[in-house]
Symmetry: C2
């Protein structure tokens, strides 16, 4: 049975579900930062997914990436499956700006996350509602 890795549970807020993936919001208001987690047991790498699941992941990643870039008017999208700390397959989608605190470096491991306040979180949930309904 699929269970979300405890570190992702701790760092993220669940926004909803696609056919394959759980959609998480990283609780770090410095960047619009989502994570897709295929709800499959014991998968660490994209190539370990079945061919059908690989296509679902591609489709969900493309939909999410296009949506985030438009919705947040991002200058660049970062998409990455790393997993050095959390081996459960998860794919980061981060809307980047040339004025964001990490630019042009990657966002990982730089200073502390800045959690959303209640209002900020509600606003983000609303902004992803349309994507999840579509």
């Amino acid at each position: 049975m699929f269970t979300l890795h405890p570190q992702l549970q701790k760092d993220c807020i669940e926004l909803g579900r696609f056919d394959l993936c759980r959609l998480l919001l990283m609780n770090d208001s410095r960047y619009p930062w989502c994570i897709l987690v295929p709800e499959r047991e014991d998968i660490r790498e994209i190539y370990e997914l079945s061919p059908a699941d690989q296509l679902l992941l591609l489709d969900e990643s493309v939909r999410l990436g296009r949506y985030m870039t438009a919705e947040f008017r991002a200058h660049k999208l970062n998409v990455a499956a790393l997993g050095n700390m959390v081996p459960q397959l998860h794919v980061h989608h981060i809307a980047r700006y040339s004025h964001d605190p990490a630019w042009p470096r990657p966002v990982w491991g730089l200073d502390e996350a800045r959690p959303y306040d209640e209002e900020g979180l509600r606003a983000m949930q609303a902004r992803f509602g349309l994507l999840l309904e579509g």
Copy 2:
């Protein structure tokens, strides 16, 4: 017409070509590190590729990732499309080890690259020969 971004030309060695992508080796012997560059003009994001090209990219990425993990007995694969410095779409594939110099952090922006010597480069080209013929 597609032209490889000058920074990728400078940092990498061409290993060969798949149907969609040029396969590059990052000239940094600290990590087995390949880059796939779809040979399409003016593409910055995966979702900007045509649906058919997205499938090709997925297929080539999956083949490369599976091959690298097995061939280099990697502990983890890192796959990432960032593009903050080089906007031309390119997808990193890095074989990671729990004893490599950056672990568990991402590899980007840490110290100077350590270029291959002639012998090391020939060995890498040979190791990717089988993948490109297959």
